[in-house]
């Protein structure tokens, strides 16, 4: 990882919080031999082998009918550990539509921290360029959100919405809610800013550009 860090530091790309240059990730290529479940364990401390496939996570998930792969099946695919299944997991829509409502974790009889695993799978999916195309809206929103706070340190809703729309190429979505938000004093045109904004940029530089950020 060390080499890799200096490389990034020398060559910071514009949109690096989602790095898309696989060549940069020397360690990444080495890691390709490690199965995803081992990476999950290394980065989150979660053992997918704990799961005994009772399906309670799926049963309680508010979004399981939106998902292409059921939450418990994600864990099953990880348990098998084949390259094909790992790829299937990382390119699933499931990991993006998850709301992190933590219901699965709270009810899991084996206390598998599926939300933490999902967070990791998301960043890994982007890293490996496997993110599901159907999730573009969601990923664009995350990117716009992070872009907004990377710039000013705080969320600027109007800026976020505009930024998101540009990324999502859907200018008309939601557009009719905005006027009433403005009349209710809920949408501001001038962004609030953190004074020490360079510190915020540093935080982004030192985390998201750097490593997986796992345990």
């Amino acid at each position: 990882m060390q080499n890799n860090m200096t490389e990034i530091a020398e060559n910071p790309s514009k949109d690096t919080y989602y790095s898309n240059d696989l060549q940069k990730w020397g360690a990444e290529i080495k890691n390709k031999d490690i199965s995803l479940k081992e990476l999950v364990f290394n980065e989150t401390g979660e053992k997918v082998s704990l799961c005994y496939q009772c399906g309670k996570c799926t049963a309680g998930c508010p979004l399981s009918d939106e998902m292409d792969i059921a939450p418990n099946t994600i864990l099953r695919l990880l348990q098998i550990g084949s390259k094909e299944y790992d790829r299937k997991v990382l390119s699933s829509y499931t990991i993006w539509v998850c709301l992190s409502c933590e219901t699965c974790m709270a009810r899991c009889p084996k206390e598998v921290d599926l939300p933490a695993i999902t967070d990791f799978l998301r960043s890994e999916s982007i890293r490996r360029h496997l993110a599901n195309r159907k999730a573009n809206n969601i990923i664009n929103f995350h990117k716009a959100f992070l872009h907004s706070i990377r710039g000013s340190g705080r969320l600027y809703e109007f800026g976020l919405v505009i930024g998101y729309k540009l990324r999502a190429k859907n200018l008309f979505q939601d557009v009719l809610l905005a006027p009433s938000m403005i009349t209710h004093g809920k949408l501001k045109f001038i962004p609030a800013k953190v004074k020490n904004s360079s510190q915020i940029k540093e935080i982004f530089q030192k985390t998201i550009n750097n490593n997986r950020g796992g345990k």
Binding site: G55, A59, D65, A70, R107
Partner: protein, 665 residues
């Protein structure tokens, strides 16, 4: 001069694969005092034993060291061999070169060397051994059985039928236990009460059985063959001798709305009550906490209506001490409720019931007289969802283990429900079906194939109420993990079987060990499954782990046979591995007395000819002493020795390690 023989066992490949047994025999032959040494493939086999016997004769041996497995396995074997040749058996020692050596080390010279060292240590010990003679203690041929469920009933009957006295104590007002609450039993569907009540009556009528209901163990002293148990006979406020069991009092009691324990709180009972019609003994009990008389002294309806004059409000708890030779613990289990389960409503939905409650709804002696009616509005439920593993196999909120009986009783519940409500639907959410028992799998298949019970593989995430229905949110993991939402009229939770809340304190009273779940521990999981680590105390039924009826009964009979075997002897033989005090050097500090876990150390006054006390010294009761050696370690004046493991022996064993020199190797 000691003449010691050393016998090295290969234990097939167990020892010989890593230890050079021939070499060990060769090294051993050079230890001073060893006059013969050899190795053999199976020393415990008949030819192996003969080999030892012949060597004792031929070389006039005075002591034997067998290098083989743990003394826990074959010490009795070899000591008998030695004794048969006229040598005191305590001159035979085993050097454990299997568990302590070959199994835990790789093949190599060092491993062989360690085996040889182990032999040397034991040779030194044998050299310092003294002849010891087994201790004989008398046996009280009366058993105490704790718990009057099916296991306790079976154990009591078996022991009593062998001609021994039995005291059966039960903490509830009647014997019968959980089995009396069941409707039908799997896999035969015979009526539980019909097969149980004859046994209950047999207990009541048996001349050798003294039944003490509404009683609990207060304390226990003593040791195998000679226990002294104190029993608290709780005041039931009824003179049992006068009471004729007419039941008038229970009808007249103005308090009628107390949740009925026997009906798993599905019905109501008065403050003076008999738990169920076939109760044994058929004597009522007054629930002091709910009785108006005890609350404010205003009501005596039961007393004025008792023609036998049996009501005694002044009755007190009685403490009764009994001498018994053996104890069978059969205290059973309880179920973990549902109030701890967030996702099933913390017990707030009336129509979410436990398996035991459903059992009462199915039972013809239950609150609905056997009609399945839901508690909230008394309607017959047309859709019942059963949830297996509601607490079991759930380390997060319940218990880690499988409760074992739920798969079967859930299949039975669904089946009985379908028999009673033919147009109803029964869905069972399960994770695995564990039906490993005689005719069990066939029973489950019958539920599916003949009674149309719908099994859905998946756990339920949430149950909530909506418009008088219970919405059950689950998943079908066999259908691509499709979420399933069922509108049910009633939900039955197969709750976990757990130890009683007072199991831990009972175990401490009885000095028996228990596991992390507070189930009582057997002495060996495979080979001593009914004995505890405390000699004379055996286990029967679900107090050891969740069990079904056939298993509980089998274990009860096994515990009884252990007890009967014990009672077949007039005198008990105990190993003489006990502590002895040297009364001339003892300074009477009694530190030993304060540390002895078995209360085996007494004060003995040494008197002169005129009867004046010279000093008070420690004296060890050979019946109580378990040979743990704690007193030896604490004795400041080195006045206590453990027979068979004297200070002298232990020191010479340790010194033997330093005497190793290269010439042996």
């Amino acid at each position: 001069m000691a003449r010691i023989g050393v016998f090295i066992c290969h234990c097939g490949e167990n020892i010989a694969s890593t230890v050079d047994c021939g070499k060990v025999a060769e090294i051993s032959s050079k230890i001073p005092g060893v006059v013969f040494s050899t190795d053999y493939k199976y020393m415990c086999s008949d030819p192996g034993q003969t080999l030892i016997k012949d060597a004792i004769k031929k070389y006039k041996l005075t002591g034997v060291v067998v290098g083989a497995c743990s003394p826990r396995m074959h010490e009795p074997t070899f000591r008998k061999v030695v004794a048969s040749e006229g040598i005191n058996p305590f001159f035979c020692e085993m050097a454990n070169i299997r568990e302590h050596c070959s199994w835990v080390h790789p093949k190599g010279e060092e491993t062989t060397q360690k085996a040889a060292d182990t032999i040397r240590i034991l040779v030194e010990k044998v050299r310092n051994n003294e002849p010891l003679y087994p201790i004989k203690v008398p046996v009280t041929k009366r058993a105490l059985v704790i718990g009057g469920g099916i296991a306790g009933i079976q154990a009591s009957l078996d022991i009593a039928n062998a001609g021994n006295e039995v005291i059966l104590i039960e903490k509830e007002p009647s014997i019968g236990g959980h089995m009396a609450q069941l409707s039908e039993t799997f896999p035969t569907l015979d009526c539980s009460q019909c097969i149980l009540t004859p046994r209950m009556v047999e207990v009541a009528q048996h001349p050798n059985i003294t039944l003490m209901s509404y009683s609990e163990v207060e304390s226990l002293e003593g040791f195998i063959g000679n226990f002294k148990a104190t029993i608290r006979k709780k005041a039931r406020f009824i003179n049992e001798e006068l009471c004729n069991g007419c039941g008038d009092c229970t009808l007249k009691c103005p308090i009628k709305k107390i949740p009925d324990e026997f009906n798993a709180e599905m019905g109501k009972r008065p403050a003076i009550y008999v738990p169920f019609p076939q109760a044994v003994p058929n004597k009522p009990v007054i629930d002091k906490d709910n009785c108006t008389h005890f609350k404010n002294g205003k009501c005596q309806f039961c007393k004025t209506n008792c023609s036998a004059g049996a009501i005694d409000f002044d009755q007190q708890d009685q403490l009764i001490t009994v001498d018994v030779g053996a104890i069978v613990v059969a205290t059973g289990f309880t179920i973990k409720g549902t109030d701890f389960f967030p996702e099933y409503g913390y017990g707030k939905y009336k129509d979410v019931v436990t398996g035991l409650q459903f059992e009462r709804l199915l039972s013809s002696s239950g609150p609905t007289l056997g009609e399945v009616r839901r508690p909230s509005d008394g309607k017959v439920p047309k859709k019942v969802v059963f949830i297996a593993c509601a607490g079991s196999r759930d380390p997060a909120k319940g218990i880690e283990y499988c409760s074992k009986i739920c798969c079967m009783y859930t299949a039975k519940h669904a089946m009985l429900y379908k028999h009673k409500v033919p147009d109803g639907e029964a869905d069972i959410f399960y994770m695995d079906i564990r039906a490993g028992g005689k005719n069990y799998e066939e029973f489950v298949r019958r539920a599916v194939e003949e009674d149309d019970v719908n099994y859905i593989r998946g756990r339920v995430s949430k149950v909530y109420e909506k418009n008088g229905k219970l919405i059950v949110r689950g998943v079908d993991t066999l259908l691509n993990s499709t979420p399933v939402e069922i509108e049910a009229d009633m939900v039955v939770l197969a709750t976990a079987s757990v130890a009683h809340s007072d199991a831990e304190s009972l175990a401490q009273k009885l000095h028996i060990s228990y596991d992390s779940y507070n189930f009582f521990s057997e002495a060996h999981p495979k080979l001593r499954p009914v004995e505890t680590n405390t000699a004379g105390i055996t286990l029967a039924g679900a107090c050891q782990a969740p069990k079904d009826i056939p298993e509980s009964v089998a274990q009860a009979s096994a515990a009884a046979s252990k007890t009967i075997a014990l009672f077949s002897q007039d005198l008990l033989t105990r190993e003489p591995i006990i502590a002895v005090s040297n009364k001339s050097t003892c300074v009477g500090c009694f530190l030993c007395q304060s540390v002895c876990p078995y209360l085996a150390i007494e004060r003995e006054e040494i008197k002169d000819r005129n009867g004046n006390i010279i000093k008070t010294v420690a004296s060890i009761n050979s019946g109580l002493c378990q040979g743990c050696g704690t007193c030896v370690a604490f004795c400041r004046s080195k006045s206590i020795d453990l027979q068979g493991y004297t200070n002298n022996q232990v020191f010479s064993e340790v010194s033997a390690l330093f005497e190793r020199s290269e010439e042996y190797v």
